[in-house]
Amino acid sequence: MVEVEWYLGLSGVLFMIGVLGVLIRRNVIVILMCIELMLNAVNLTLVTFSQSLGDVSGQILVFFVMAVAAAEAAVGLAIVIAIFRKKTTVDVAEFTLFKY
């Protein structure tokens, strides 16, 4: 069996890639995808601990995280569509509705 710390390290690396995507990319849809990636990395940690401790609660939390992620993706993409209709771009640098 693979040791727990390998899964935790992989999860950390995936989370870091998600953070980099949110900070570096300009396409708002790709930023939403990177948020999904970060949620996935955290889910991996939860499942790892749940399985290594033999406790189901962690996997139920993962189940709820997936449901919230689905809701977040639906609302986030609807907002993107609404903004795109107004500004015809998905570049986050152009979204300056609240500036000043």
């Binding site: 069996m1 727990v4 710390e5 390998w6 899964y7 992989l10 950390g12 690396v13 995936l14 989370f15 870091m16 890639i17 998600g18 953070v19 980099l20 995507g21 900070l23 570096i24 990319r25 300009r26 396409n27 849809i29 790709v30 995808m33 999904e36 990636l37 996935n40 889910n43 991996l44 499942v47 790892t48 749940s50 399985q51 290594s52 033999g54 406790d55 189901v56 609660s57 996997q59 139920i60 189940f63 709820f64 997936m66 449901a67 919230v68 689905a70 809701a71 977040e72 993706a73 639906a74 609302v75 993409l77 609807a78 907002i79 993107v80 569509i81 609404a82 795109f84 209709r85 570049d91």
Partner: protein, 168 residues
Amino acid sequence: MAQILFVVLATVAIAAALGMLISRNPVASALWLVLELFCIAGLYLTLNAQFIAVVQVLVYAGAIMVLFVFVIMLLNLTALPRLPHFDWRRLVGFLAGMAILVQLVYVLATGLDALPAQVSSEQSAVTGSAQQIAGELFTRFAMPLEMIGVLLLAATIGAVLLAKRKLT
């Protein structure tokens, strides 16, 4: 055997995540993310969490990614124009991401002794089964489950309202 499987899945997962980060076309990014999600589902299987692995493929790789691809197609996107000059914000973002990775690895390294003992793989196969999860989900976590249902309904209505052509 388990080690080889883990290394292969982990490598592909990291490569797919980097591909998503680097590719300029949003459709390519979405497809890389699908590959990454499948790898994570495979990793759940190596952890004996069968139920979560199936839900991962159904919900993430199925529903959420279809939503993303639909929106990308709907908006008829092309790649954003390349930045003409060096962007210092990218450098700051890269450094911040690396700082987070260093912090996570540091916490992991200092906490290695505190990791609890692993249960046997027969035991964890029981923990990850749909029967076990459903038993907890519909008894101890019945109330949160109902609330998740309400949340999804609210999100659906909100998404329809936001994406409607005209708000009246």
